[in-house]
Amino acid sequence: MELWLLLAIPLLGCLTLAAFGARSWAPDANVGFSTATFLASAALTRRVIIEGPLLLGNEQFFVDPFNVFLVALTAFVGWTTAMFSRPYMRIEETHGRVNRQRLRLYHSMYQLFMATMLLALLTNNLGLLWVAMEAATLSTVLLVSLYRTAASIEAAWKYFILCGVGIAQALFGTILLYLAAEKVLGEGGSTALLWTHLNAVKGQLEPGVLSVAFVFLLVGYGTKVGLAPLHNWLPDAHAEGPTPISAVLSGLLLNVALYAVVRCKVLVEGATHSGLAGHLMMGFGLLSVLLAAFFLWRQRDIKRLFGYSSIEHMGIVTFAFGMGGPVANFAALLHMTVHSLTKSAIFFAVGHACQKAGTQVMDDIRGLLVVSPTIGWGLMFGTLAILGMPPFGVFTSEFLIVTTAMREQPWATPILLLALAIAFAAIFRRVQSMVFGETTLKPLPHSPALVPVFAHLGLVLMLGVYIPPALATWYRLAAAMIG
């Protein structure tokens, strides 16, 4: 029941807003739908806490420790982002960057995006997973080009083509998986793409096929995760789209894509006991972390900067999943959570900062602390959190990942050390000079929405010093399942 609500509400929202999105109350409706979605997800989570993992809709949908917290997270961030986008888009409208028609598109597509995310997370069917991922791309691509500027259109085009091509590879991988599964689960069996079934029989799947399949899947979904060298769309899309979209792209889409990769990794590792998948992921992870760190160094556009930082963190998570083992997986899951919370919070703060400054060029943003302390402190603490400063949660996960790496993969630690150091220097020197110093900024027409920022940071802070038992058990179970 909760499940259907969870999927239906955003779809309904999509249709409604597509119809009436141009009205002045559309933003509030958007918030309303998101709130409902969040409540539904909360109900689902509650049920899972009570009843444990669920398998619904003749096995087409299932909720297990791995995706339940991601569902909750997605719904939550979707909700807060909607709250943020209400004043943000109003200000954009006053600044004349968007008109009502575009807002209509924006709102309906936002809901559609949420729906596809949740579908991708909840479905048990790897084929549907693919469909949902593709749909997620399609629903966001027009949002990236919302401003119709040359840059935004270019960014959207790259986003579309690269992710489309990538996702096509993923489809091929899925087909191969299906092919291998059929051998075990019987001809044309519609169950042959159900993850639960595959997971049950993963030991018997043909290793050769699965390793080929994994390559396609990794390249495919990895493109959406933003793993280097497949990452090229990411900074453009983050920089040129509206800030709420950057927030959900960084905070949610990347997570979901990574979720897909990990689901596949479980099967492949189960079939080929060669650790191939793990090593591939570690390699991609390290490469992403390192390249992202160097990219960060020369950034001048603040949203690009944090786009690259997302690449870096996805790299860390991928590396951790690649290492495997209870601790690393636990840390990786935690890192997914705190990263999406922190990064979206940062984008909220950045959004308002850019609106104040009327530019995204960091050299022109100065003295936020002076002109509006809340935005300034929000950005400052968000940045410190994302850079892995305790007592924020990112530090906790990085603590576990780095210490594990030192034991498991010592060769990787110098790279990690170097990359983290460079990233810190690159990001912090910029943010510091934006937050501190004399100011050049102007006040905003509408009061900024900073509740989301501090709500997120508060959560991240909590996760830094205290992890709720339910969450911890989910992490542990998921970590054990991922292996």
Binding site: S145, A150, I153, G164, Y178, L179, G188, S190, F295
Partner: protein, 221 residues
């Protein structure tokens, strides 16, 4: 090869045509004829799907055959043609890699694809299993085409051709995916094309040309 039943021969034939058509796409610079090639691929897919449906007796394959007929033979080519006429982009400019070189790379790719599909084909019992390599080759070739083309629209055609390859792979190796997936994929492709259509107009009104070299501003300097 005479020992093969006519159905299998038909499949092989269509596979060959598919491969040929994608090579043709590689070499073709006239966009309208690219669209025609795409339509041809659609026809081939429909036929082969019917054949497979007939032999394997899986009814949902008839549906997907119908789907591909509607989608790939009628709708998409029509949309593309409409766009081409509206935006009047008849010719693609000189590709980044000259045609013979592209051909050469393409052949290498085919060899690679066959080699790769060898272990997998052993696995498949489908009548069309041996064509998996061709499907993969088609995918890679369309990828190559997307790389080498300079016009947005021809890039998109390459994208669609790649999807054809995937469809063929699914159909030939596994008698098609489960119905719900097929439907989802078809929907995605349709919506994708529509969105691309929207895009062409946006790009056009921004840069008054569909040339991709205008889309090279966002970069690290």
């Amino acid at each position: 090869m005479t020992s093969l039943p006519w159905t299998a021969q038909l499949i092989h034939l269509s596979a060959a045509v598919l491969l040929l058509s994608s090579f043709a796409m590689l070499s073709q610079r006239r966009i309208l004829s690219l669209v025609n090639l795409y339509r041809l691929q659609g026809v081939v897919l429909t036929v082969s799907t019917l054949v497979v449906a007939y032999t394997s007796g899986q009814n949902h394959l008839y549906v997907s055959a119908a789907l591909s007929l509607v989608l790939k033979v009628i709708m998409l080519p029509w949309i593309l043609g409409y766009l081409i006429r509206r935006l009047n982009v008849r010719w693609d400019t000189e590709p980044l890699l000259n045609i013979p070189a592209t051909m050469l790379v393409g052949i290498l790719l085919v060899v690679f694809a066959f080699a790769l599909s060898q272990p997998i084909t052993r696995l498949s019992t489908s009548v069309a299993s041996s064509t998996l390599g061709i499907a993969m080759a088609v995918v890679l070739l369309s990828f190559l085409m997307m790389i080498t083309r300079r016009k947005a629209i021809s890039q998109v055609i390459g994208f669609l051709a790649m999807e054809n390859g995937l469809f063929f792979a699914a159909m030939s190796a596994t008698h098609g995916m489960p119905m719900i997936v097929e439907l989802g994929v078809a929907l995605d492709v349709l919506v994708g094309t529509l969105i691309l259509g929207v895009f062409f107009f946006q790009i056009r009104e921004q840069f008054d040309s569909l040339d991709l070299q205008h889309l090279e501003k966002l970069k690290e300097e």
